[in-house]
């Protein structure tokens, strides 16, 4: 069974067989940090380019809106500016994360990554962390460019951090669940493209909900985009959102918890 050479082998003594099972928050956090490092190092050539590209996109979006609507009213301008911060976050969660998973399936690395002894949700949060680094600067740049272009006064509340966290959480958890749940990676890309198209054009993010037909308005009361735009607008400007932000925060929190639960189920289940 065990050969004589191994018993006297010095190197065998240096690394005994690791048989202990790890668990708990310490294990979770340790593997999370290592996966963040893995992602950062493994994208080291791509990341700087992605950050620049995303920033240009954010700025382009703010300027592009200015072309669509010539000389907007101050309210319209504030809608455009705050909407421009929501789109990069939605794009990040709904298209970038699922595309990373789809790519892993296409290039055959999925098996390797998901065979690693890393809790699945730690892996998800590691991906989310790294891609947030890519996506978030563009939201800030979009806001800055829009504020300058449309000459609007921002009143930034500290709650903007909570708002941004919730928006990214909902979008990314849904995106990640799609990435894992849809077995054909090419299909993933189609679904996420359609989803982001609907969010950009038919959600009351950059325009008031009143412009939509009644049934769509009613539907949006239960979906994330309008509330995402609401909490961002409410924490970035003063007096633009009528009434309390609490219902919007509540809806987003429920969506975040629900989509995490969905993600956890999708990525831990075995076919």
């Amino acid at each position: 069974m065990v050969s004589a050479t191994a018993i006297g082998d010095r190197s065998a003594a240096a690394t005994p067989l690791a048989t202990e099972l790890r668990g708990g928050p310490g294990y979770w956090f340790h593997t999370y940090l290592l996966m963040v490092r893995w992602e950062l190092l493994n994208q080291r050539l791509l990341l700087p380019m992605m950050v620049v590209l995303q920033i240009l996109l954010g700025a382009g979006m703010a300027l592009g809106f200015g072309l669509l609507i010539d000389d907007p009213t101050p309210t319209e301008a504030a809608f455009l500016a705050t909407g421009a911060t929501v789109f990069p976050m939605m794009t990040l969660g709904l298209t970038m994360l699922p595309q990373v998973v789809a790519d892993q399936k296409l290039n055959g690395t999925y098996e390797y990554v998901f065979g690693l002894p890393v809790p699945r949700m730690a892996m998800y949060f590691a991906g989310l962390t790294v891609w947030s680094v890519v996506g978030l600067p563009s939201a800030a740049v979009a806001l800055g460019v829009a504020a300058w272009r449309f000459e609007i006064d921002l009143a930034i509340s500290p709650f903007v951090l909570l708002a941004a966290f919730l928006v990214i959480s909902v979008a990314s958890a849904i995106g990640y669940a799609i990435g894992h749940g849809v077995s054909n990676p090419r299909m993933t890309n189609v679904i996420t493209q359609v989803l982001i198209f609907v969010v950009i054009l038919f959600s009351p993010v950059s325009f008031p909900a009143e412009r939509l037909p009644g049934w769509l308005q009613a539907t949006h009361e239960w979906l994330p985009p309008e509330h995402a735009a609401n909490v961002m607008r409410g924490t970035l400007t003063d007096g633009l959102v009528e009434g309390s932000l609490v219902p919007s925060f509540a809806v987003l929190t429920v969506w975040a918890l629900g989509s995490w639960a969905l993600t956890a189920w999708v990525i831990t289940r075995r076919r």
Binding site: M1, V2, S3, T5, A6, I7, D9, R10, S11, A12, A13, A14, T15, P16, L17, A18, T19, E20, L21, R22, T31, L34, M35, R37, W38, L41, N42, Q43, R44, L45, L46, Q104, N107, G108, T109, Y110, E111, Y112, V113, F114, G115, L116, P117, V118, P119, T268, R269, R270, R271
Partner: protein
């Protein structure tokens, strides 16, 4: 980090009952495993096998035989339809997370190390498997040295040749020795010299007490490298045992192998030779020992007239047994993979 003066872990394991039990009982036991996909495909059908600690266990079979399906279930990526999976006393179906912690895995596919440097990749996996930084570095040093790939340790994955990348993948699996090590075609694209070093390292993983599950197409290499093996075909285990035991079914037979020019057609084989299997330039067949004289005469004539470049007549190998078990009708590329196609 454990110093070289630390008590030998194997000795330690023997003196402490608990540790010994945990270490030596960590066999992989697959019991009547069945996997039917949602599409209705029965990829694994009543598979039972045991890979003991300290043993290199081969899993041989043509493409689509169900080897990867079996491994994916062990790794907790797929859920078995029926049957049991245990590593030591741990139920791997109930605890897929435990399966991943106790198993070091080198899949057949690409490694996600595009911009990771070889050494970073090896050390990161060691850390993810719970090794402390210093111990992992020491072990990585040792692996890079013994496999003679030190000159590539600072290269990024994208710059590595297929063979070196495969070796990096092996080191990623070997850096923290685990009770179960699964290697799917570890020698693909590896040059002959390092291939030998790699086999030595695989053997030393088993010597440290791991059960090594080796998935391969390469029958010739497997014959020398594995202690026992199972041949899988169409989702079922068609034979299981030591290479010698498996070959015993071919007792009383000889093997004839010929080499032809690339792309040259194979001349017709006489009826007393089993239907030949062609793999690239090689073609081989078996015959009864009593037919050896006329077979020798036939093959000499055809070699003399240039139909064959060379020939070999000798004892049967595991390759012949494999072909007999899996069926001559099967496409040679499916039987032996692309690695041996040349």
């Amino acid at each position: 980090m454990l110093s070289a003066l630390a008590p030998d872990p194997l000795e330690e394991a023997r003196s402490s009952g608990i540790a010994a039990e945990r270490r030596w009982d960590a066999a992989l036991r697959v019991g009547h495993l069945e996997k039917v996909y949602a599409s209705g495909t029965r990829a694994n059908d009543d598979i039972s096998l045991t890979a003991e600690p300290g043993e290199v266990f081969g899993l041989l079979g043509p493409n689509g035989a169900g080897k990867t399906t079996l491994v994916s279930q062990v790794m907790g990526l797929l859920r078995p339809t029926r049957g049991s999976l245990h590593l030591g006393e741990i139920d791997l179906i109930e605890r897929p997370g435990a399966a991943r912690q106790l198993t070091a895995y080198l899949p057949q596919g690409e490694l996600p190390i595009e911009s990771l440097r070889a050494r970073e990749a090896v050390e990161l996996v060691g850390r993810i498997h719970g090794g402390d930084a210093a111990a992992v570095r020491t072990r990585a040093d040792e692996l890079f040295r013994t496999l003679e790939v030190e000159q590539w340790e600072d290269e990024m994955g994208a710059q590595l040749s297929g063979g070196v990348k495969r070796l990096v993948g092996f080191m990623m699996a070997a850096v923290m020795p685990r009770p179960l090590v699964i290697l799917d075609e570890p020698t693909n694209d590896v040059d002959p010299l390092r291939r030998r070093l790699l086999w030595q390292e695989i053997r030393s993983l088993a010597d440290r007490g791991s059960a090594v599950l080796l998935v391969t197409h390469n029958v010739l290499e497997a014959e020398r490298a594995v202690d026992r093996l199972a041949v899988i075909n169409e989702g079922r285990v068609v034979a299981q045992g030591t290479p010698a035991a498996l070959k015993s079914g071919d007792r009383g037979r000889l093997r004839i192998e010929v080499t032809v020019e690339p792309r040259a057609d194979l001349p017709a084989f006489p009826p007393y030779l089993a239907e030949p299997v062609r793999v690239g330039r090689r073609a081989f067949s078996t015959l009864l020992e009593t037919d050896a004289p006329r077979a020798l005469e036939w093959v000499r004539d055809l070699t003399a007239d240039g139909s064959f470049e060379e020939f070999e007549l000798g004892a049967t190998s595991l390759e012949d047994t494999y072909v007999r078990l899996v069926g001559r009708g099967t496409d040679a590329e499916a039987l032996f993979g692309e690695a041996t196609g040349g």
